[in-house]
């Protein structure tokens, strides 16, 4: 069914994966439970979900404590690529892995679009995990 939220979420992920230099994407609940992912086999989606949720929550609290306002995103730079996480509505976060050569402007726009879509899908339905 086109209405099925998990189908719609997978569609959002698939579209994001088509953006050049995006290596993998994960949607997690804010308490670390995996919702959906489009990751290569070498990456453990459950671990990413748990760690990213922890980092996002701590980043939000840190930003609040330091008077930096609302969290936009968290980014880790590595020598191979970047990992980014951002809130996708009240209940979820989106984690994206990109290569260092990526066009960050395009990536950020695509992530933003995906985050809005995910937030909508989750808000309009209750997703059973």
């Amino acid at each position: 069914m086109a209405d099925d939220p998990s189908v719609r979420l997978r569609a959002v992920l698939a579209e994001l994966r088509r953006v050049p230099d995006i290596l993998g994407v994960t949607i997690a609940r804010r308490d670390g439970i995996l919702i959906a992912h489009a990751l290569p086999k070498s990456m453990d989606p459950k671990k990413i979900a748990a760690m990213s949720a922890a980092i996002v929550r701590t980043s939000e609290m840190a930003a609040g404590e330091m008077g930096l306002g609302r969290l936009r995103q968290w980014i880790v730079d590595t020598n191979i690529g970047k990992m980014m996480a951002t809130g996708a509505g009240e209940e979820a976060i989106l984690v994206t892995m990109v290569r260092n050569e990526a066009n960050m402007g395009l990536i950020l726009l695509s992530v933003d679009k995906a985050v809005h879509a995910i937030s909508e899908i989750l808000r309009s339905q209750e997703v059973t995990v």
Partner: protein, 154 residues
């Protein structure tokens, strides 16, 4: 509440085991364990040992702290020995350590043993003496050997 001492010990064992695994999996065990200990110990000292004044000598402070804990029925440190020289503490912790079973589980699994006794004492020294000590488990065994060394940061 568990109705037997064994029941309570078991509860403690698995709770602590979970805490250790979780803090490792999230990537900063020293931070999480130290923070848990700091928060818990601060509350404990305020509530249960408000009159505990640690002497300046760290080994003596550890000895007196453990004794106060014994008197409160929390520990049995009768088989622990503390020696020191003002800048370091060397301790032997015997079988009766309340964490021995958790540490044995960890050790048998090949996981690093985070000595809770050691970092609890380090936090106690930090809270009561405003002193920075680095802890090290020199040997897990019967007895365990731990050292606390005054840190170089200040």
């Amino acid at each position: 509440m568990p109705s037997t001492k064994e029941g309570l010990q078991r509860l403690l064992d698995f709770f602590v085991y979970g805490m250790l695994r979780a803090s490792e999996m999230l990537g900063n065990a020293p931070l999480f364990l130290r923070t848990i200990e700091e928060e818990g110990l601060r509350k404990f000292l305020t509530t249960n040992m408000p009159r505990f004044q640690a002497p300046d000598d760290p080994a003596e402070a550890c000895r007196q702290y453990m004794q106060a804990g014994d008197e409160g029925g929390l520990f049995d440190s009768s088989d622990s020995v503390f020696r020191g020289d003002g800048d370091s503490v060397h301790a032997e912790i015997g079988d009766k350590c309340v964490y021995r079973r958790v540490c044995t589980m960890r050790h048998d699994e090949g996981l690093p043993v985070h000595c809770i006794r050691a970092f609890a004492l380090a936090e106690m020294l930090r809270i009561r003496l405003d002193a920075d000590f680095d802890w090290k488990l020199e040997r897990f065994g019967r007895p365990c050997r731990i050292t606390l060394t005054r840190a170089k940061w200040k």
